[in-house]
Symmetry: C2
Subunit: 267 residues, 2 copies
């Protein structure tokens, strides 16, 4: 998907919500276990309940991988089920030497036809560049992540420059606002103004609202740009809102609508 189309969808839906599909067999309503593919059945219902409220879906690849080949099949069916006008993100945190990153890019962009994949920056340019060679496909590079461990290395200072700043500045030599976004965690709302200043036009994918306790208002007021420039992700807070209920999708829809409503007020 092109950047202009993503912005069009945001304005159309009055939403910059991304729904994270962290689908865990231990947490989905138990009645779904009678179906042949419970993971896909769950995702299908979540997608039906949220597709008018969000502009992106982000399956967390770990959850599908942990189920072996069957999980891979559930993922494939899920991606095929998502409407074409919704941006799809493989949350995979990949990154390796050039010939290997190229294989990962083929997996997510050709085999599955995702729009974007999250990539870890530690191995530098040749681990990221192979993903940027695909037309209308995106790298979402880890910048400042939402977890506690983000303090271990991402904030290490070289002179007055923290590592995440080096990552954000250096990587702008490799990609553009048309194919490169950054992961910036909502648990660091105070950093958003500064990060926005480093990357004025780039979209940020923002995890950490919801289960991780991030501050939505701080994020949006500091991080929004003229094109919106933000995708706010919520996973567990939305998809498990219905508990073990057989019509869990009502609560899923309500939870997504609440967040979309809040987001809409900023547009």
């Amino acid at each position: 998907m092109k950047r202009s189309e993503l912005i069009h969808q945001i304005n159309l839906k009055k939403s910059f919500l991304c729904v994270g599909l962290d689908t865990d067999p231990a947490k989905i309503p138990s009645f779904l276990n009678d179906f042949e593919d419970p993971i896909f059945e769950f995702n299908k219902r979540v997608i039906d309940a949220t597709k008018d409220l969000c502009v992106a879906y982000k399956p967390n690849i770990a959850f599908y991988e942990s189920l072996g080949p069957k999980g891979w099949e559930s993922l494939e069916k899920t991606i095929d089920y998502i409407p074409d006008d919704i941006f799809t993100i493989a949350d995979a945190k990949r990154g390796d030497i050039g010939n290997t990153s190229k294989m990962y890019a083929k997996t997510f962009f050709e085999y599955f036809d995702f729009d974007a994949v999250t990539v870890a920056p530690y191995m530098g340019v040749d681990s990221v560049a192979p993903f940027l060679e695909f037309e209308d496909k995106w790298v979402i590079l880890l910048g400042l992540t939402s977890n506690k461990g983000s303090n271990d290395f991402q904030r290490i200072q070289s002179g007055s420059t923290p590592l995440y700043e080096s990552v954000i500045r250096k990587s702008q030599e490799w990609g553009s606002p048309e194919n490169l976004m950054y992961v910036i965690g909502a648990t660091h709302p105070e950093s958003f103004a500064e990060v926005r200043d480093m990357a004025k036009e780039h979209f940020f994918l923002v995890p950490g609202i919801g289960a991780q306790g991030g501050d939505l208002h701080g994020v949006v007021s500091n991080g929004k740009n003229d094109d919106c420039g933000l995708l706010i992700n919520s996973s567990r807070g939305i998809i498990y809102a219905g508990g073990d209920s057989e019509n869990f999708e009502v609560a899923v829809n309500k939870s997504a609508a609440e967040l979309q409503g809040k987001l809409g007020t900023y547009l």
Copy 2:
């Protein structure tokens, strides 16, 4: 596998060779395409030709993932085929927030029963710790990688401390020489003495010999410790040594034997 068993195997086989199973459908001998699972047939023959010469196998997960559920099945059969006394490494470069890293750990340690998985350090302690909670299983953390891009961030200095040194020192608070190794690329032979000084007892997994042009003698003379402490990986240089030949395994065996012979002289 326990550290003591790995050291026992190294002394028994006079080898610290790790064979990388970067199995690419476009590079395997064409006659294998007549089999139902060409990838597994190739790996099986490579394993038969090298199992007495190496102490570890390292499937590169990207190559299996890129084939979808079928690739995942080939990987499963490959792991089941590797003899139990050989150390197995999932070269996956994973790492995410805690609940997600736990899922990746389950994938590689429980679903596949690998001994070790390579992990990227960028997200810090809670992205690495879940892998360290499995008994007799290992994290192999990226330290100083073999690729050109390793210069982009890994050598960024904070005071006089490069990032890779911070990673190696800090992570020793999370794991021990019994469950934590480091990836140190053979393309930096000059750094091995210094890295060995930072992590005296830890094993290093060393890619970059062979196709990437690393210096074996420099690595071993600077990096070996009293327990050996090194696993030298070769992938393309061994597994594709036989070209398109129907008895390619003869050349695979010869290539592995040559490298094992060299390694044996250091033990």
